[in-house]
Amino acid sequence: MNPVTTPIYLITGTSKGIGEALANYYLQQGVIVVGCSRSHSNIEHESYYHHSVDVTDEQSVKHLFTWVRKTFGRLDVLINNAGIAAMNHAILTPASSVERILQTNVLASFICCREAAKIMKKKAFGRIVNFSTVAVPLNLEGEAAYAASKSGVETLTRVLAREFAEFNITVNAVGPTPIQTELIKNVGDDKINALLARQTLKRMGTFDDVINVVNFFVDEKSDFISAQVVYLGGV
């Protein structure tokens, strides 16, 4: 494999869930994947590089991107997958929980987009994919802080799409429906079923559903697709 021509993907939150599935998928496609999470990763592959990074820590994120620049001299794709959620009634939600959600979902996405753009602009090519959720268009009760944070991610996506357009970097977002991961393991079946009932296509999402949309956004032929949010499930 030639690291000069092999595409470099940076995916955040690869220790489990959707991020791990994305990393495994793109490794199978033959790209180099740089992954990160606070905990370790079980992915073992010669083209996988794991970094223990808390994405809310600007300095650590900066180090990660500097490492990418110095090691590969390029970055083709950033997938801002790392995220946290909290299901709770607003009246019972502590401010500290809101702060954590905003930091992980909005602040970290912002810092990663900023650092990625610096590297991507050198080659005048880049694809950034952010993560929203159907909780935004559905205005899901019980997810005020989470949905608000992902609204922030959507606006970030649209504004950065404009700011980075001159560098030939596209910025888009995918908005999954519920997918069985640790993120939603504490949400009761009744809540999930009520949510599925509000979707046009009434089933749980799968990793493949997400990969399909991400693939479309990162495709070289998608250079005229930017500032878009695609929701799963017909929401």
């Binding site: 600007e58 900066k62 180090h63 500097t66 620049r69 610096k118 001159e166």
Partner: protein
């Protein structure tokens, strides 16, 4: 070389890097009072971003430190630390001493 001289040399090299991508008739001249931002500057906002990024990268590589050149007042007409080469150099010196 003093820190000031090192920084000036980094800024000058970054100017040269930017000039490599410009038309021969449109080159930027390098001196302490040259305006980087505002009506008197021949740099547009993309040039400024490119210049500052080149500087950030050189500081990281040559001084072997982690550095981000982001600043709240970056695009403020009155107080931008990026107004002239001199103000930029003052700003970098203070930031790096932190």
């Amino acid at each position: 070389m003093s820190m000031r001289e090192t920084l000036l040399s980094i800024i000058e090299q970054s100017f040269e890097e930017l000039n490599d991508t410009r038309e021969p008739g449109n080159l930027l001249s390098f001196h302490p009072e040259v305006a980087l931002y505002g009506a008197n500057s021949s740099l547009d906002s993309v040039d400024l971003v490119n210049l500052l990024l080149a500087i950030e990268e050189r500081i990281e590589d040559e001084l072997d430190i982690s550095f981000t050149i982001a600043n709240e007042k970056a695009l403020s007409q009155k107080n931008s630390p990026f107004k002239t080469v001199k103000s930029l150099c003052d700003y970098l010196q203070i930031e790096l001493a932190k």
